[in-house]
Symmetry: C2
Subunit: 222 residues, 2 copies
């Protein structure tokens, strides 16, 4: 049997990995709220279970199997959050805590039943994807930069324009895939959009901004 502790570590590693690639012992210790020494011990165990790869002093990476388990827990968590809110009328600030405990003990059947009851959702109300049973994760939603409201932040995922000249132009401004952006201002009608990249801000025509797809990070939405 896989313990709840293991499930929690895998889930936490997955989330840290999403943000930062490789996961350090101290980051994991901080996120799990345990001492670093405890993490070292658990990471050894996870490695022996082939759920993570670990090179001492270099952090940890989920294996295929570890990722699958992490996604199962995350699927449980997000389905539960959704169910608690939709079916039981929980307010959104309370669902997380409850789901945190329930996620470890519900059966596949329970998962299946609430999944159906909710109409087989693939995304929770935060916009976060609900991993599928087979481990598939729907791509995060990509919005047109031109559709975002001021205050929205995210990461550029795609820049599509038929004109290579335009792409080069955007590139010199740091508007390339994986670059973080923030919308500062947005003129009404078809007016320009002001965006902030790593260092400076730029004013883009609405037509240009339309071809830049951004993955917004939910917690940064207006």
């Amino acid at each position: 049997m896989i313990s709840e502790a293991v499930q929690d570590y895998l889930k936490t590693i997955y989330k840290l990995q999403e943000d930062t690639g490789v996961v350090s012992t101290s980051a994991l210790a901080e996120a799990m709220e345990v001492a670093a020494a405890s993490v070292t011990g658990m990471v050894k165990k996870l490695a022996s279970l082939k759920l993570v790869r670990h090179h001492p002093y270099q952090g940890v990476v989920l294996s295929k199997a570890g990722e699958k388990m992490a996604l199962e827990v995350i699927r449980h968590h997000r389905l539960l959050e959704l169910y608690l809110a939709e079916a039981l009328g929980y307010s959104w600030d309370k669902v997380h805590e409850e789901a945190e405990r329930l996620e470890h003990v519900i059966s596949e059947e329970f998962e299946e039943k609430i999944f159906e009851a909710l109409g087989r959702p693939t995304r929770d109300p935060h916009g976060d994807p609900i991993p599928a049973k087979d481990g598939t994760v729907v791509a995060a939603e990509h919005d047109r930069l031109s559709d975002l409201e001021p205050g929205a932040t995210g990461v550029i995922r795609q820049v599509s324009d038929s004109d290579a000249e335009v792409l080069r132009y955007l590139g010199t401004r740091g508007l390339v895939p994986n670059a973080p952006v923030e919308v500062l201002e947005k003129a009404p009608f078809n007016g320009p959009v002001t965006v902030k990249t790593r260092e400076t801000s730029h004013v883009l025509g609405r037509d240009l901004a339309q071809h830049i797809r951004v993955e917004t990070r939910p917690e940064d939405e207006t």
Copy 2:
């Protein structure tokens, strides 16, 4: 924090106590599926927590506080069973196992929500009472012996007849409070009812059977 193990012990002690008054170490070990030595250890702990009273070699009795905790767990369990069946369409053979795990992790709020969603029930579909939040337990249902169908078994709880002669007559047949009975046959219309007591069976007029109240044990119902 009260561990799940403690909750499980209290629940089990409560149930055994219902049947047999005082609970022996070995009975508890058997019910919990652990070694007797483990029970001795846990019972010591429960006693130190003032959840049970324990006199070595004489078994264990729940304290007021212990009973309250036991009832909370049982309330969770029965509400969950009902909810799983009613709201999620679980079949009755699967609800127990799922409730067994969930009962330890749901919050008071979760309990409250499903209680309301179910219409504030006081009894589960087995007929078992659902303890109230304040620890009140509705009396077990007493059926007229004359209303039971063949196959039903239970324990006599009340024999009410104005005629002392009749009571004596029934007494000689073992039809007294706390005696187990089983309905063997039941004639149509107002015909007689054939019941089995400890050793022998008797045929009773419907009018007589009407005055005998039986507490049926759910698992023996038709």
